[in-house]
Symmetry: C2
């Protein structure tokens, strides 16, 4: 949190608005805009309006619009932790990490779309996840590393596309989880 | 072809335009509109403008806008033939049919999007394809039929999403074909 660092706020602005201008508040506002209106809705002006501050103040905190968008996309993938180090994990562990990615993508589909359009915004969480899954596959069969990662990630994206137009369907979700677990075993030759 | 069945054309319309109003010409015009502008661009008026006839004449041929769209979506999947009967096919045959679907989807992504939004437009070609793949998996393991079909089709859609934003990449295509073939073998337990 960085409350109190807002150099641009005027003397007449209420203290509440100033106090709100921390990184957490900016990211939360940006993520709400992303979820509601997609990448294009994540603007300095939009975040500023939500927080009752000036766009300049938001820019000062984030280093501009791209910095804002990068933080928001990263926040959409928060919690996507992979085990540290490069010890050999089980297929169940790989499946669990892959399902954590699927959950983040399902919660914030606009973040997935933003990364398709702007791979330069790829957050460290997602780079670590990809590298870890690729590494786990490579421990078994290096020639399958890229292919196996593509199988897992593309299957997830294709499922999310189908799920996004289907009514809530517990069986579809169950099938999906079972398929990710199965695919992880296949890809890891277990 | 059904040239000459257009009851609505006026006496002053040139013969060329009248001759153009066959099913093939209507479907070709509709498919071009779909590829250029997506489902929303496939209208009686749009096709009529391309062919130099009245929207009413197009409606007469197709049974209205939904009939037009259904024919266009079906045409997007033309050539998606599966072997007749229900003999046990090899994994290579299943992979070939699946790749044929992938090609149709890649050529006409707006048809895929249209079917996500309007499953009532599902063409017979695609129903036969799905039933055949499901049947081939069920011959080995009935409990895998739906799951295996979802794995293949969702993986294809996820790949197409990734490929649609990536530059032409022969290696990515090669990986994709190899993955579909591998996935078919896994799903069929071969």
């Amino acid at each position: 949190m960085t409350e109190g660092r807002t150099s641009g706020r005027g003397p007449g602005r209420p203290p509440l608005a100033a106090a709100a201008l921390g990184d957490d508040a900016i990211v939360a506002a940006g993520l709400a805009l992303l979820d509601e209106g997609g990448e294009a809705a994540v603007t300095l002006r939009g975040v500023a309006r939500r927080l009752g501050v000036t766009p300049m103040a938001v820019s000062h905190h984030t280093g501009g619009r791209d910095g804002l968008l990068a933080r928001v996309v990263a926040a959409a993938h928060a919690g996507l932790d992979v085990p540290p180090g490069d010890h050999k994990a089980s297929a169940a562990e790989v499946a669990a990490a892959t399902l954590a990615y699927a959950q983040a993508a399902q919660r914030h589909p606009a973040a997935v779309a933003a990364l398709f359009a702007r791979s330069d915004l790829m957050p460290d969480e997602l780079k670590r996840f990809s590298a870890w899954v690729r590494g786990q596959i490579a421990l078994r069969d290096p020639s399958m590393a890229d292919r196996g990662l593509a199988l897992l990630v593309d299957y997830i994206h294709g499922h999310l596309l189908a799920a996004s137009v289907a009514p809530e369907d517990a069986e579809m979700e169950h099938t999906f989880r079972a398929n990710v677990e199965q695919l992880a075993r296949w890809v890891l030759a277990e």
